[in-house]
Symmetry: D2
Subunit: 315 residues, 4 copies
Amino acid sequence: MTDYKNLLKKIHEKYLPSTKGSLASYIPELAKIDPNLFAISITTVDGKTYSHGDINSFFTLQSTSKPFTYGLALMDHGPEFVHQRVGVEPSGEAFNSIIELEKNSHRPFNPMINSGAIAVASMIQDKLLDNNEIYIRSDRMLDLFSSLCGKKLEINEQVFLSEKKTAHRNRAIAHLLRHFDVIGNDIEESLDLYFKQCSVEINIIDLSQMAATLANQGVQPISKIKIYDEQYITDMIGLIFTCGMYDTAGAWAYQVGIPAKSGVSGAIFGVIPGVMGIAVYSPLIDDHGHSVRGVNAIKDISQELKLNIFRQQKR
Amino acid sequence: MTDYKNLLKKIHEKYLPSTKGSLASYIPELAKIDPNLFAISITTVDGKTYSHGDINSFFTLQSTSKPFTYGLALMDHGPEFVHQRVGVEPSGEAFNSIIELEKNSHRPFNPMINSGAIAVASMIQDKLLDNNEIYIRSDRMLDLFSSLCGKKLEINEQVFLSEKKTAHRNRAIAHLLRHFDVIGNDIEESLDLYFKQCSVEINIIDLSQMAATLANQGVQPISKIKIYDEQYITDMIGLIFTCGMYDTAGAWAYQVGIPAKSGVSGAIFGVIPGVMGIAVYSPLIDDHGHSVRGVNAIKDISQELKLNIFRQQKR
Amino acid sequence: MTDYKNLLKKIHEKYLPSTKGSLASYIPELAKIDPNLFAISITTVDGKTYSHGDINSFFTLQSTSKPFTYGLALMDHGPEFVHQRVGVEPSGEAFNSIIELEKNSHRPFNPMINSGAIAVASMIQDKLLDNNEIYIRSDRMLDLFSSLCGKKLEINEQVFLSEKKTAHRNRAIAHLLRHFDVIGNDIEESLDLYFKQCSVEINIIDLSQMAATLANQGVQPISKIKIYDEQYITDMIGLIFTCGMYDTAGAWAYQVGIPAKSGVSGAIFGVIPGVMGIAVYSPLIDDHGHSVRGVNAIKDISQELKLNIFRQQKR
Amino acid sequence: MTDYKNLLKKIHEKYLPSTKGSLASYIPELAKIDPNLFAISITTVDGKTYSHGDINSFFTLQSTSKPFTYGLALMDHGPEFVHQRVGVEPSGEAFNSIIELEKNSHRPFNPMINSGAIAVASMIQDKLLDNNEIYIRSDRMLDLFSSLCGKKLEINEQVFLSEKKTAHRNRAIAHLLRHFDVIGNDIEESLDLYFKQCSVEINIIDLSQMAATLANQGVQPISKIKIYDEQYITDMIGLIFTCGMYDTAGAWAYQVGIPAKSGVSGAIFGVIPGVMGIAVYSPLIDDHGHSVRGVNAIKDISQELKLNIFRQQKR
């Protein structure tokens, strides 16, 4: 049996000394982080967690939240509705590109880039409960994410407000989505939900459990609670694989070969269907917005454990 | 045990009546084909072949040849050399796009689009043998393809000459590749090799064996001859998955989830690592250049046999 | 001496029967206009005005306002400041394109397209008067435009509010300009000024006097009041010529050869330096947003009066 | 009366010491030139020539040839035929761009960029004379250019062969034009004519006479021979103005305001309709391919002589 604990320790030691990359600068909150933070965690589909490093450090989900909100939109509306508004093609453009919207289709390329994620966020609406109370959209998102981690999560208000104030490009994207009738008049509410899902605070063990839930067909591997319908899990993992690493998705698929999603906070996770979720956090990011130590750590884990999905495998 | 024979028969009957799509018109030879031709074949990694339909009809490989020449370039030069000249990213553009070359990198997005395949073809050079004879490039390619099928293949000269004469866009691409120093001065020879690899004539059983060789880690499953080094097989399958279906690669990954490559002759093949190769031929193609019956047949086979690579699987 | 009065009458009769084009639909106010309205006016640099048709119909300036606000920005800040933020190149894109901002320079191509005009509007700031009163930006613009017409103009509030509410694309542009630091935090104020300058209401005689002021080196030809510094007039006319007709600027220069600017309300004006201003109003517009009757009328006037600036001329 | 001779001397002295720019490197022949060469010449419509500097140095026309071949195509086929194949819009792209051809129209933006000039060259065909002799296309071009200079011109064979051998991008453009049916099967002949017109050798006085012929409505001002039909002169000058300076055409129109055309050999000419032709030669070119000293000299001449076409002028 693989000694996961020792593997994570070895990889942690290998990459800790490297100080390549830089802190995300576009919101002040992210620029203040300790650049040496580095944590790795694995959660298997049978509910065991192995971790190493700064496992008590909290960070915000940022773009790693995108697949999970996308899954909620699928459950609310079904794939047909969702994909009339947002495509499933890799974009070849950077994560925050606005150009694609001007092109033929006038809809975002996929739910993993900002334009697509904002469109997906706009699909998460308030819900009228049986007792006539309103279950507001941001609570729905936060409760879902909490159930993925088996504990009550919170939004980092400072990060949320900072994003809300400075995200001029995302605001431009939202207005253009409105122009093309991809989203409705609740532009501000849609942006707020998007900024909030990006500002949810977790630690590395939480993230590995979120990833493991996808690996385990939508069932949280510790609580055994069914969170996503099985039928949508394949869609979610497929999109993570082809689009999760933005304009480096091809190189990632080629070199690493496991579905993975990164965020500018320095979080990154990988999903091995039927096996495990892997999560790494380290805030120094490269030009594409991926955690440098995170990318290296996942590459090494993939090689050591032979996780490349295109390797020969028995079925 | 799955009754493959019966499955293929059932799918064949289901899609034969549909006459959607049209014959490729860009070369006269392809426009003369009988539109009702339809053949399906599966070859498993343990060397069994199941097939149905027009299994004695011959057709040209067209773009289904691209991964196999790419594998030869990897063996000749190694991945580093190859990918300094050709990228690994899905393009978001059509298969014959020339725009990407004008952009930042001045190299083709990947080996599966025409510009990348022409660049790859230029890497296959004549070889001086020990007896001082010259092993010319087109013989090298043809011998390789022949070994993949376990029989001597031939080039359809009419198709080759027709392509050579009418392929103005591919010629434009080649000159632009020369301009950006992606290829050398042997422009005409590179184009000739590319046109020849597209004009190799096979039947559906041959194509399923070619695909099965990739599924079987580079070993031809019937002759047991090692054709590609194992280390390059993962690269080849990875690129087929992310780039093989051009600008519909994302939708294909999302809906079907198996690595596949299509050609305008109406050929299409899929690779299930460790399991089998699937091949379909039917000359009516859609706007993206994919065989209509072929796409549907592979979708059905994927669903029936639960082949989507993102489904949960035991390891 | 040319019988201008008769020429205008002849051209009016020629094009009145044609009902080509359609009413601008993007704001409800413009879609309600009588499509048969048609008025032409010429004002010479020595202050004579000739007109024909619906000369008492009022319409909003829309994009015909852009050169006049641009001139105000030049006077406030000088060309160097203005053109660090907005270029002087024809765009080859439609008037409302957002793509160019994503490209290299991150500044609008020129002040005649929407992005450039919004950037220019942001340069018009409130002014502190000697008596410590604040001269607000929209009053500054409106007073300037009024002096160009020699009478007090007003803003059509319905059109203004309608634009403000529905202009999602312009709002997207403004946020993207903010993202690239082309404009500051007063996004809403900048958009308001832009929507207001577009909503100023005039008749055809007013517009011909505005154009004639440019033709007369910045001096209103009737009141003889100096409105623009002479040094900026050449810049304004030059930009009108190369960029005023958007992506048809080349065809216009080629076929008509006079500096002209159109607006989606159906207004269009031409400037013949040292000679006259020409204005036409007719609300049926073509796919590029130009008045169909307006374009034809100015073409005819240009030919009849031999106004093409590239024709041989004595100096 | 203006002392032209002295003005040219003054400007020559002002810019000779500057060594900004670099020699064109894309063909070896151009890279060998003496970078200090600098010559200016003016020819008025009444046939007087004033010049200064290296007036006996010969250089090749390069892109300054484009308007003159375009005029020949207009006379051979009329504007309708020509402009079904080549547009009249400024491109916003560099002179050698290939991207625009992939876009909607599949025809070159205008005759001043390489793609448009190659398409125009393809329209110049051999002519069967009354005596059944064939008047070959390159002789037709060379005779026309010779008549513009009032003397027998020759092609620099070294430059021609060098261009023919190294112009991979132009060859790519030609094949793409063929693909889109803008040109016919005589690709090689069309390229040859284009390379030859670029390789015609002249001195600065010749070039000023060529420009002056356009300024003089198509009549060579010294020989008084009618070379271009008057009706096409306006078209030619209009296109020179809007497209002659490529992606800096807007800035040029804005800052200088006279129709001008440059070539990578360091030649540049301006046309003042009804007044004069101006020509400058100096081989150090900027990033856009314009002669640095040439641009400065024409700017100064324009200012000194008040030639900006948008300045107020009496008619």
